[in-house]
């Protein structure tokens, strides 16, 4: 056991965990004030439900022994409840299995939460929770197996345990989840928008972000946590992690500048929401690429993602789909940009050691990247659409118009985000007790 590596991976797991509350605030600040709580709740629900499912059978489905050796799914009940792992002799000379379990748990949780931004203000909460559970089980756990489960080999290089097909057979480079996390979530977001339709009144009158400082805070926490997400994916604390760390910094920095520039040119002024959107776009794009490029390559990919997503998010009103907080425009588009640009900017001197088109490699890596991206996109889109459609047909996924009109926080959660004044509401009888005894109580103040 290496205590330095273990410390590193555990800290990174905590950092990635923080991304989900960060994302909740990032999204929450962007909706109108009477929908902020539902937006927060969709992410929180993922922390609750996917956290438990991961322990029950998610880890096993993603990293259990490959079923049939075809690289499509791990055996979901092998490590049910992680019971077989507790107390098992762990002779790894790097990190304990449980550290890896924890780290990967946070990825599953975050990916589900990412989707929620597409359906602001109109998804009933119960069906959302069901969707989250089904989607994690049927889409995320398998795809994580494809992308993150590496073959195990013995000293002589023979494969002793088969991993996922994208990671091993295809050998696409996706260091920290450009396909498994961002393209995956982006495709699911698109499916949800197609099934649920736009908010009533959209695009007029669905409101502006109600709390931009909250959005900035969320973005700050996301960036902070993303260092764990990317550099933690090295699973050891060494040069690879350090290079990835620097790339994660400059990728986001460059994307922020690029997005602000696009705004400056097209609309005259760089905005706060633009700047933080640029940060996220850059982080998304550098995620698959961070181990494969030099810092200059990271700047290029970041800038491409910042500019590309800034243009992409303006398309939704033209294409007429209400991807409310731009999950498609930022995560799907950004994920594609990053995944594909690996084929161009990969440098042999970077930790991954693969050369892309601009660094003297051929188009070989590019098509691997493209195949991986398309496979995840199609799988996720189809499955997500089916799950959402089924829920809509059976129990009804979409909030009714009255609920939307009144506000989803009140309808689904019986709460209001903010009460800056204090007039106008009184506690109901039952909880208040009879009046007399209250006054009795007040008398007891010494």
């Amino acid at each position: 056991m290496n205590s330095g590596d273990t410390a590193w991976v555990l800290v990174c797991a905590a950092l990635v965990m923080l991304m989900t509350p960060g994302l909740a605030l990032f999204y929450g600040g962007m909706v109108r004030s009477r929908g902020v709580l539902n937006m927060l709740m969709m992410s929180l629900a993922s922390l609750g439900l996917v956290g438990v499912l991961w322990v029950l059978y998610g880890y096993s489905g993603a990293f259990g022994s490959d079923l049939g050796g075809v690289g499509l799914l791990g055996s979901p009940l092998e490590f049910f409840g992680l019971s077989r792992l507790v107390g098992a002799e762990d002779t790894s000379d790097t990190i304990p299995t449980f550290a890896f379990v924890a780290f990967q748990a946070m990825f599953a949780i975050l990916t589900v939460a990412l989707i929620s931004g597409a359906v602001a203000d109109r998804a009933r909460f119960g069906p959302w929770v069901l969707f989250a559970g089904l989607w994690a089980s049927l889409v995320y756990f398998p795809v994580a197996h494809w992308v993150f489960a590496f073959d195990t080999t013995n000293e002589s290089g023979e494969i002793t345990a088969v991993g996922g097909w994208i990671a091993n057979r295809l050998a696409a480079i996706d260091f920290a989840g450009g396909t498994a996390v961002h393209i995956n979530a982006g495709a699911a977001a698109l499916a949800l928008v197609l099934v649920l339709g736009p908010r009533t009144g959209w695009p007029r009158g669905t409101g502006k972000p109600h709390n931009l400082p909250l959005v900035v805070l969320g973005a700050g926490l996301l960036w902070f946590g993303w260092f764990g997400f990317n550099a933690g994916s090295a699973l050891t604390a060494g040069t690879t992690a350090a290079v990835v760390f620097v790339n994660t910094l400059v990728g986001a920095s460059a994307a922020m500048l690029a997005w602000m520039l696009v705004e400056r040119v097209r609309h005259g002024k760089p905005t706060t929401l633009g700047a933080v959107s640029g940060i996220v776009a850059g982080l998304v794009a550098i995620t698959p690429a961070c181990s494969a490029v030099t810092p200059l390559g990271a700047i290029a990919i970041g800038a491409a993602a910042g500019a590309g997503c800034a243009l992409a998010v303006e398309l939704k009103s033209r294409l007429r789909f209400d991807d409310s907080l731009d999950v498609v425009g930022v995560h799907l588009v950004g994920g594609l940009i990053g995944t594909l640009l690996v084929g161009f900017f990969a440098s042999e001197s970077a930790p991954a050691g693969v050369a892309g088109i601009f660094y003297g490699g051929g188009a070989d890596q590019l098509w691997r990247q493209a195949v991986g991206a398309v496979a995840v996109f199609v799988y996720s889109l189809v499955l997500s659409w089916l799950i959402a459609w089924l829920l809509q047909r059976t129990i009804g996924f979409r909030l009714d118009e009255r609920g939307e009109h009144v506000g989803i926080d009140e309808t689904e959660h019986a709460e209001t985000g903010y009460h800056f004044g204090d007039a106008g509401s009184t506690l109901r009888g039952s909880a208040a007790g009879e009046r007399g005894s209250v006054e009795e109580l007040e008398g007891s103040v010494r």
Partner: protein, 112 residues
């Protein structure tokens, strides 16, 4: 000069504004208010304690109008703010003795 005050549903403000614009009335002053009336509020729950919110968020619109227009404006407000459900609100008219436009000092009909 009359002052027409309307307390209406928040989401009707745009419609009221449009209907007034058709009558040539462009100026008005609006504020967020809370109304008590026939319309019931809703319930909020915090850790099991239930709160009855008996106010409803409304918007209050004030429009200064010429005596001769008052009736037409009143009618326009009423019809555009109506949804037919409880809570649509009230409109009332009060006499105004004088009006001044601050910028120019103009008074009376010129001022609005």
């Amino acid at each position: 000069m009359k002052l027409l005050t309307a307390v209406v549903q928040q989401h009707k403000v745009d419609e009221v504004r449009n209907s007034l614009a058709e009558l040539g009335v462009r100026g008005m002053t609006i504020a967020d208010v809370q109304g008590y009336g026939r319309q019931r509020g809703h319930t909020e729950i915090y850790r099991g304690a239930e709160y009855e919110v008996d106010v409803v968020e409304k918007t209050r619109i004030e429009v200064l109008v010429d005596d001769t227009d008052a009736d037409a404006v009143l009618r326009a407000v009423v019809s555009s703010a109506r949804s037919g459900r409880v809570g649509d609100g009230k409109v009332w008219v009060t006499p105004v003795e004088s009006v001044v436009r601050v910028r120019t000092g103009e008074t009376g009909d010129q001022a609005v």
